[in-house]
């Protein structure tokens, strides 16, 4: 049973879908951020796999930068959450509906 690229791609897609479920489902912003991490990680697997099967390093590069980006996002995201939490004592996204229509 040979593990081909498709296996990894399918795995990646499944994980991506799980991430999407999280993104859509979570009302707590922190947990929602977790889901976005899942999204990025799932793609990373695919990149690494493609890179492996093509024998090309670009995919790993991409994955590397994705990790960097994910890390930066966490910093900014948490910063925003902290400010919000300081004011409102919650990080539930239901508390952010002052603008609509």
């Amino acid at each position: 049973m040979e593990i081909g690229l498709n296996h990894y791609l399918i795995l990646s897609t499944i994980l991506f879908a799980i991430g999407l479920v999280g993104v859509m489902r979570r009302k707590n912003l922190l947990l929602l951020f977790f889901a976005t991490e899942i999204l990025l990680n799932s793609v990373n697997i695919a990149f690494a796999a493609i890179s492996h099967y093509y024998g090309d390093l670009t995919g790993q590069m991409f994955a590397f930068f994705v990790i960097a980006i994910a890390a930066s996002e966490v910093a900014v995201g948490l910063g925003l959450l902290i400010v919000w939490y300081k004011r409102h004592g919650t990080i539930d996204l239901e508390s952010m509906t002052s603008m609509r229509g």
């Binding site: 793609v43 991409f62 930068f65 996002e73 603008m99």
Partner: protein
């Protein structure tokens, strides 16, 4: 074993980096100044920013000269791609930024402009956008995009009130999702072609004759999702009105222009070859997206009660309108995109600035939001000049000749006509009529309603509550540009067309 790699300095073309590095240096300098001596006045940072942006602009002129002479320049292992559209986009980005940053010098003090970090982040953001447009490598595009976006989220939040945090969080979260889409899309393209460079992707796909059309489409879908978010294409637009409302008016105006032109350039790079490859599906989808975005945004704008939010929807609609250029995909349409955006930048920044100078800190009872329509009732009586200027901006946005955007619209619709998209051209034209309604609504309030008593008493002070010389100059500049645009269209058009054409678009 590894052999040492020899890289000649000339082959790197380091000069291609100059325009991006200048704002980075500026940002660092600002941070350093702040560390050395805190509490300095914002005017210092404003002027410094303007100076660096001016330098940046100078560097761009230089790049433009080089491009005019030698054509497309690649640099630093071909990661940097300085072609016509990159230069044009950077011109728009830098010029708009130069117009924007003096808006910090308001009469009232607002949180974001009081801190040097704002200006540092601002300059970082500009360099991020510049990297984004000056490359066809999906990785650099991604990194540039994220640099700019992260800075932008912070800039929005720094307005420091509940709505701005809310806006920043919404923008951020959706941005994270869009980043996921982007990386997934890039992954698909990489899987298909083994490359993350757009021209390489195009070459490989063409060589394969698009046999894997299904995969290509998946990649396209995710890319559409990601750039749809950036360009606020329906249904990825939902952040736009909230974010515009949450941020300061000046920032909202800025956001309606700069991030979008950057995204447009990248979208052009990605989708152009796909459209040309004759993927009927993409054409169809883009057609639908353009039409839906234009129309739906207009329809939503109709029912707004706040001017800023209305303008937010209107800029969604404008973006949809301009998306048509990517669909049409001719040299004329791509030139039209830039022409339109140059003209749009004047007008839209001007109109948001008009909101900005009338920004109050405490809202009177009749006013629910910062810039509700009621606020502008009878403005022609209390401050006629401001009302006329605002009206001209609105008329220009509505596409009424001879104001700036009319020429953009004409050229854009003409490109659709030339490209064979007759129905699209008609829909684009008729959308202006729908849009006319909500622009007129403001004019109706300003010119045809009776003023609110308290505004009459203080002689329309409300409308210039925030005005300083700097703001007035910017508005003056915008209004002159808006009215007399027709004088500049010809050179602008020739310049843009040359650049776009020589870049191969």
């Amino acid at each position: 074993m590894l052999s040492p790699i020899n890289v000649s300095l000339e082959s790197l073309n380091l000069i291609t980096l100059a325009p991006m590095l200048i704002p980075v240096v500026g940002a660092l300098l600002i941070l350093v100044i702040d560390i050395l001596k805190g509490g300095l006045d914002r005017s210092l940072y404003v002027v410094l920013s303007v100076l660096f942006l001016a330098l940046d602009f100078g560097a761009l002129l230089d790049s433009a000269g080089v491009f005019g002479k030698d054509g497309i320049v690649l640099g630093l292992f071909d990661v940097m791609l300085i072609d016509g559209i990159a230069i044009l986009a950077q011109f728009i980005i830098v010029a708009t930024s130069m117009l924007f940053i003096p808006l910090a010098l308001t009469h009232k003090r607002f949180h974001e402009f009081s801190y040097p970090e704002f200006f540092a982040l601002f300059l970082f953001m500009i360099s991020g956008f510049q990297f984004m447009v000056a490359s066809d490598n999906l990785i650099l595009i991604f990194v540039g995009l994220e640099t700019a976006s992260l800075a932008l989220y912070t800039l929005i939040a720094m307005h420091n009130r509940d709505k701005s945090f809310e806006a920043a969080v919404k923008y951020f979260t959706m941005g994270a999702l869009a980043a996921g889409f982007y990386s997934f899309g890039a992954m698909v393209f990489y899987a298909l072609t083994g490359s993350v460079e757009i021209n390489q992707i195009a070459t490989v796909l063409a060589a394969n004759g698009y046999v894997d059309i299904g995969y290509v489409l998946v990649g396209v879908v995710f890319m559409l999702g990601s750039f749809g978010f950036k360009l606020s294409v329906v249904p990825f637009h939902t952040w736009t009105p909230d974010v515009y409302e949450g941020s300061s008016a000046a920032m909202a105006g800025y956001m309606s222009i700069v991030p979008k032109i950057a995204a447009f350039v990248v979208a052009m790079r990605i989708f152009e070859f796909l459209v040309h490859s004759g993927i009927a599906w993409l054409e169809f989808i883009l057609w639908i997206m353009v039409v839906v975005t234009m129309t739906a945004a207009n329809v939503w704008a109709l029912v707004q009660t706040d001017v800023k939010r209305m303008l937010a929807y209107s800029s969604i609609s404008h973006a949809g309108f301009v998306m048509a250029a990517i669909l049409v995909g001719t040299t004329q349409s791509n030139s039209a995109l830039f022409l339109y955006w140059v003209l749009f930048s004047f007008t839209n920044l001007g109109s948001f600035s008009m909101l900005w100078i009338s920004r109050q800190k405490q809202l009177p009872g009749y006013q629910k939001t910062d810039h509700s329509f009621d606020k502008f009732s009878g403005m022609i009586i209390t401050s006629p000049m401001a009302a006329i200027i605002m009206a001209i901006f609105m008329l220009s946005l509505a596409g009424l000749p001879p104001f700036a955007l009319f020429w953009g619209k004409v050229y854009m619709i003409s490109s659709a006509v030339t490209g064979g998209y007759t129905i699209l051209a008609l829909i684009m034209a008729l959308n202006s009529a729908i849009a006319g309604y909500y622009y007129l609504k403001l004019i109706v309030y300003m010119f045809m309603k009776d003023p609110i008593a308290s505004n009459v008493d203080n002689n329309g002070e409300l409308y210039v509550a925030n005005a300083t010389l700097a703001l007035k100059s910017i508005i003056g500049f915008a209004i002159v540009g808006t009215i007399f645009a027709f004088l500049a269209i010809n050179p602008l058009l020739e310049f843009i067309t040359t650049f776009v054409y020589n870049s191969g678009y």
